[in-house]
């Protein structure tokens, strides 16, 4: 981390702390320090925390000086800095035409905007009172928001950051299941909104409406099925050349420690592809209950497997020019990390390189270190390629956004 960015981090944290105190319901009362081990400041490092159970992020974002930046490692020549702290439960990252970075949340109710003005960053609330607003995307100045069971929009959002209107709902005919109900939202080359309705369970026979990718016109009309047999998705992106849709998919829990593995998929036959849930897992394991009488050969195979329970979330094609040429048009993918496994895996970014025909060539580590001694010190969610070619990374565990850059920055200050 450079001296400048470290200082900026502290300044930003100071501003945020002021904002939080002023905005919170606790404004009138003096804040006393929280005791060590409080879930409000971070997950306690106890024996119990290491047992097999879903990992809950602390309810409050970590302070800038408590972030795990010194533990994160990237290949030689890359630098990882803090971009913004205090971004509660930071999930999907999107960039506005005027340079605003939008950040969604899943456990919380807010969408944030990070505004960079003359090198000084400010975090603003764009929308609140939303229900699991994980999916966001920008198109021609309009912010589209996918909550658990509805899709809404704010037009010309970057002109209204100081006084944002309530989002206008464009589509609400969606199942209301909490399980895998949060959405990932993207816009296709056909200028339609793409999102998924996940399976409302770990393993079950989903209804006709569940376990599918859908697309929708920008005005909320024309709902169509794009693909089916999908358990849950929290990351999709479009190949910059072939324009095909790639997505990460989470496979079922409780089958075993080592199978099934989560998947990286590609849609080659829109409207027809079926990826196998609940009959077939990881492309080659029939389900113990639902797999009888079916064959994995009926279904579209994954491009590659991404590790058991590793929870791949965001995936983006690197379209910038700052990183070495070998990264161009390759996939950078965030593995949030496992919980349904004694020895955790993931908690990293990997680079998936593709062959010219769009199939899998290789997978290698990119940013590592979120997992330390079988405990998470942070959990990566989504990425964003910035105009200068640097890569932002969100961390929902700490409520922070990091910036990965290459070359130009001097790393001597570390």
């Amino acid at each position: 981390m450079t001296y400048l960015s470290r200082r900026r981090g502290f300044v930003l944290a100071g501003t945020l702390a002021t904002l939080l105190v002023a905005a919170g319901p606790a404004a009138a009362q003096p804040q006393t320090p929280l005791p060590p081990g409080s879930p409000l400041i971070g997950r306690p490092d106890t024996e119990a925390a290491k047992k097999l159970a879903p990992v809950a992020p602390p309810p409050l974002p970590a302070a800038a000086d408590k972030l795990p930046l010194d533990k994160l490692k990237a290949p030689k020549g890359f630098t990882i800095d803090l971009y913004a702290s205090g971004v509660d439960n930071a999930r999907t990252l999107r960039l506005g035409d005027k340079g605003t970075v939008f950040v969604s949340s899943r456990i919380k109710d807010k969408i944030h905007a990070i505004v960079d003005k003359d090198g000084k960053r400010e975090v603003k609330v764009v929308a609140s009172g939303l229900h699991r607003p994980n999916g966001i995307v920008l198109h021609k100045g309009t912010l589209y928001i996918a909550e658990l069971s509805q899709i809404s929009k704010i037009e010309n959002v970057e002109d209204k950051l100081d006084n944002p209107p309530k989002p206008t709902v464009i589509f609400s005919d969606l199942p209301k299941d909490e399980a895998h109900g949060w959405k990932y939202l993207t816009i296709g080359p056909d200028e339609k909104l793409y999102f998924q309705v996940g399976a409302p369970c770990n393993i079950c026979m989903p209804s006709e409406r569940h376990a599918k990718i859908y697309r929708l016109n920008l005005d909320g009309s024309g709902l169509e099925v794009v693909a089916s047999g999908i358990r849950q998705i929290v990351g999709m992106d479009w190949h910059p050349v072939s324009k095909q849709l790639y997505f990460t998919e989470h496979q079922r829990d409780w089958l075993s420690e080592d199978i099934p593995q989560d998947k990286l998929n590609r849609v080659t036959q829109p409207g027809k592809d079926n990826f196998g849930f609940p009959y077939c897992h990881q492309g080659n394991i029939p389900d113990q209950e639902f797999g009888w009488g079916r064959s994995c050969d009926e279904f579209t195979k994954p491009i590659t497997l991404l590790g058991p329970h590793s929870a791949p979330l965001g995936m983006r094609f690197y379209t910038g020019t700052m990183f070495p040429a070998a990264y161009r048009n390759q996939i950078i993918l965030a593995r949030h990390g496992s919980w349904n496994r004694t020895t955790k895996i993931g908690g990293d970014l990997v680079v998936v390189k593709l062959k010219p025909d769009g199939t899998f060539r290789s997978m290698e580590p990119f940013v590592t270190g979120f997992l330390q001694n079988n405990n998470y010190v942070g959990r990566p969610v989504d990425m964003l390629v910035m105009k200068d070619g640097s890569l932002l990374v969100s961390d929902d565990y700490n409520g922070a956004v990091y910036r990965v850059s290459y070359g130009a920055q001097r790393t001597a200050g570390r």
Binding site: P25, A56, E178, N202
Partner: protein, 189 residues
């Protein structure tokens, strides 16, 4: 019936507006409904004794920030500081574990409940003695009617968890499973 009882208790304590009261001033109201010795006597109101502090902190946080809507808890948590939430959860975690329902249980129902807990992996996250851990609540000795209400709420999506894990687990389960599980857990020591 329950809301009338809670209403009467709240009216008794709330001589001044709740949001102006400190945590210590509010605690008697908490105990009046949830039981000062960790065991609740009020229908559909959970016993909180020995509840992991992480879980209670998160629930109080969700009540305060209206991520979980359950009156009167949203009103009770309004205006509390982060430190209050933590301290309240710590105090509650030190209350004695709730008293399980006494008497000789129906062995067949107990066995069905125990088996359901294993089949659905409840005993992994909530631990084999159902004492809970961290963000996963204690279930042993919890009120049977509250357990049933919570399970049904996760199934019909009216109960919002911090994460959606419970909704995943209960989706394939039937109502008679909930009845058996609640029977078993309420009688766990």
């Amino acid at each position: 019936m329950r809301s009338l009882a809670i209403g009467a208790i709240l009216a008794g304590f709330a001589a001044s507006p709740l949001c102006a009261q400190s945590l210590d001033e509010r605690l008697p109201t908490c105990f009046a409904c949830h039981g000062e010795k960790g065991t609740s006597q009020l229908p559909e109101t959970p016993s909180l004794g020995a509840q992991p502090a992480f879980y209670t902190t998160v629930q109080l946080f969700m009540f305060r920030d209206k991520l979980r809507i359950t009156e009167p808890m949203n009103e009770m948590a309004k205006g509390l500081t982060d430190a209050d939430l933590q301290r309240g959860a710590d105090i509650i975690s030190k209350l004695p574990a709730p008293e399980p329902i006494s008497g000789t249980p129906d062995a067949v129902r107990m066995e069905r409940g125990r088996a359901l807990g294993q089949k659905n992996h409840c005993n992994f996250c909530h631990q084999s003695n159902y004492a809970g851990q961290e963000n996963v609540p204690r279930l042993a000795g919890q009120r049977e009617d509250y357990l049933l209400k919570a399970l049904r709420g996760y199934k019909d999506n009216s109960r919002r968890g911090y994460d959606a894990q419970m909704s995943e687990v209960v989706y394939p389960m039937k109502d008679e499973d909930f009845v058996d599980l609640a029977y078993f857990l309420a009688r766990q020591k």
